[in-house]
């Protein structure tokens, strides 16, 4: 903490691994080098983060990607206008199920290969078998209604012909309690970030059946949510912070630093878990349960593939899923709010002086890149994608009405 720092910034975070870029910015001096005295506050719920942003305790915070949209769309109490000038990474989540459900799925052709289509087909068959036998619906947990976890779990199930609102139950459980809730049978499966999937596998109480990185390659997860009023009052402080986060993210991505990063995150004030349990997210090497192991491409990216760029198409995809599951009505006003929430312009103007690769567009057609592709960008070369959905669907942010309508009619026909 330097007394003479030019900018004082207070930020909140949840003890999850994907707060690493923000934590490392403070702990490894990237913030200080930009003249920022960064104070980090560990929180216990996303509701607390939302409340403290709203009353001005925090200037910004580690947030679930759809959370700032939910705030701006008035879906939460104590909402305050929140913008997203930086993304904290791509991927990182898994879907984990109980041993009993896995046994049922393997009887219907599931294999330990993480293939979302195959796992979904087996789960669908099991769900119909259970329904025919008069069993209660399976209960899945996610961390928050307005989360990437909730929307990707629902997307995966729906694409496999399972109606997530009628054929299963979805409840909210805080991440650290997931593995325990699964072990005691209070839930049958969950979608959460690491290390809470590997935790159930290590305990012998769960199987990882698929991962975010395969449901939607290189898809958005956590972001930096900034109180808009503060961003407008303090543009220089925000730009300095975005540069610090950029340097921090680059450092976090480098495998040479993974050991040190895991040690920083292991401190009780941050994640507070041993470095060894953080390795799966850093290496992408997962144990799936029952002795199976797999290396997953692009499992979690804190920096590569323009991971920090706040694509408007990411925000708009979250918006379409909020509409799809009845969280918000699709109106021109709401769409405009969703369109204005993520701020690539602020990212670009803050990082321009560094001469780094910056995407030229604010949005991309999600699912269009089948392979990693070098794209036109200012500065040095930039590689994006692949960014495909597992079911081969394309999300074109210029065709939102059609996308929403297609998902609605697919459900009506089912």
């Amino acid at each position: 903490m330097s007394m003479g720092a030019e900018h004082q910034i207070t930020a909140g975070f949840m003890p999850l691994f994907d707060s690493a870029v923000l934590v490392a910015a403070g702990e490894l001096g990237f913030a200080a080098r930009e003249g920022i005295d960064l104070t980090l506050h560990r929180e216990t719920s996303w509701a607390n983060i939302r409340d403290r942003i709203a009353i001005g305790h925090f200037h910004l915070a580690h947030m679930l990607g759809p959370m700032p949209l939910a705030c701006n769309l008035g879906l939460t109490p104590l909402a305050s206008e929140t913008i997203v000038p930086f993304s904290l990474g791509l991927g990182g989540n898994c879907v984990t199920i109980s041993n009993a459900v896995w046994a049922g799925m393997t009887a219907h052709g599931a294999a330990p290969d993480l293939d979302p289509a195959r796992a979904g087909a087996a789960l669908g068959a099991l769900i119909r078998e259970r329904a025919a036998a008069g069993h209660d619906p399976l209960r899945f947990a996610v961390v928050h209604p307005h989360s990437g976890h909730n929307y990707e779990l629902r997307y995966w199930l729906a694409a496999c012909g399972i109606d997530p609102t009628l054929e299963i139950e979805i409840v909210i459980v805080p991440p650290p309690f997931m593995a325990d809730a699964l072990a005691t049978g209070r839930i049958d499966g969950y979608c959460v970030g690491e290390p809470w999937n590997s935790a159930a596998v290590a305990a012998g109480t769960g199987h990882i059946v698929t991962v975010k990185a395969q449901i939607w390659r290189n898809s958005p997860e956590k972001v930096i949510g900034v109180r808009k009023a503060w961003a407008e009052q303090s543009p220089e402080a925000l730009a300095a912070l975005l540069r610090a986060l950029h340097h921090s993210a680059r450092w976090c991505q480098d495998p040479a630093n993974h050991g040190e990063l895991a040690n920083v995150m292991a401190q009780p004030g941050f994640l507070g878990l041993p470095p060894a349990v953080q390795m799966p997210i850093l290496t992408g090497h997962l144990r799936l349960g029952g002795g199976a192991e797999l290396d997953i491409d692009d499992f979690f990216l804190p920096f590569d593939k323009a991971a920090n760029f706040p694509w408007k198409s990411h925000a708009l995809w979250f918006y379409t899923q909020m509409v799809r599951w009845g969280h918000v009505a699709h109106t021109p006003e709401n769409l405009a709010i969703a369109r204005d929430c993520y701020r690539p312009d602020l990212y670009r103007s803050a990082l321009k002086p560094l001469g780094v690769a910056l995407p030229g567009a604010n949005s991309k057609v999600e699912g269009a890149l089948r392979v990693a592709t070098a794209v036109g960008a200012t500065g040095a070369g930039l590689v994006l994608g692949p960014d495909g959905f597992f079911d081969g669907q394309i999300f074109d942010p210029d065709e939102i009405d059609a996308y929403i309508a297609a998902q609605k009619s697919a459900r009506a026909e089912a």
Binding site: A47, I55, I172
Partner: protein, 200 residues
């Protein structure tokens, strides 16, 4: 004092703090107060109790689960919303500062809920103050023990009287702009490293 009594549910994993709040609510004339420490099976409890006001501590990691439950009409009979008095930003800040939040059933008038939230805030603050004082007293005691040991080391190794040993510790602390307890701790640690026999 209270017209028709409101049903209040207090959710707090800290049993001592929960009982302090419960006592406060009862003193204020609220007869129907229920305290829950563990949120397992809370949907059923809420259906049974039908609370008008729910008070919850902000340390509770289950807040996201509860808020989601309150928003699903099939989980609770009556819609429950966060108590947000838009005209009174200061009271929201006071609640968050104190570490407490309140949810109320739809349609309940602000002026009936505000005294309950104010009560919870003041009791939360009183509890924090008490916990802080307890911690200070404990660390005071610890530091007094360390100072006694440091004095003993100085008396033995430099042949000082107890008073002279204490004066030396205090002077060193003043010169270095540190607490006397910290200086004593350094001395005890150093003595332990240099010769364990010295300490005994």
């Amino acid at each position: 004092m209270v017209r028709s009594s409101l049903a209040v549910l207090v959710i707090d994993e800290n049993r001592i703090r929960a009982s302090i709040i419960e006592a406060g609510l009862r003193e204020a004339g609220h007869e129907r107060v229920t305290v829950i420490h563990d949120v397992t099976g809370i949907a059923r409890r809420i259906a049974e109790i039908e609370p008008d006001v729910i008070v919850i501590d902000l340390e509770n990691p289950n807040r996201d689960m509860l808020e989601n439950m309150f928003q699903l009409s099939r989980a609770v009979k009556r819609p429950i919303a966060m108590f947000v008095d838009r005209s009174d930003q200061a009271s929201i800040e006071a609640a968050v500062d104190a570490g407490v939040s309140a949810y109320v059933v739809d349609g309940l008038r602000q002026e009936r809920v505000k005294p309950i939230l104010d009560m919870a805030v003041s009791r939360f603050n009183a509890f924090s103050r008490m916990a802080r004082e307890l911690e200070e007293a404990r660390s005071e005691l610890e530091s007094r023990k360390v100072i006694d040991r440091a004095k003993g080391i100085l008396m033995k190794s430099r042949g000082l009287t107890e008073e002279a040993a204490y004066t030396l510790l205090r002077k060193t602390a003043m010169n270095q702009n540190r607490k006397i307890g910290d200086i004593a701790q350094s001395l005890v640690t150093a003595a332990g490293l240099l010769g364990p026999a010295e300490d005994e």
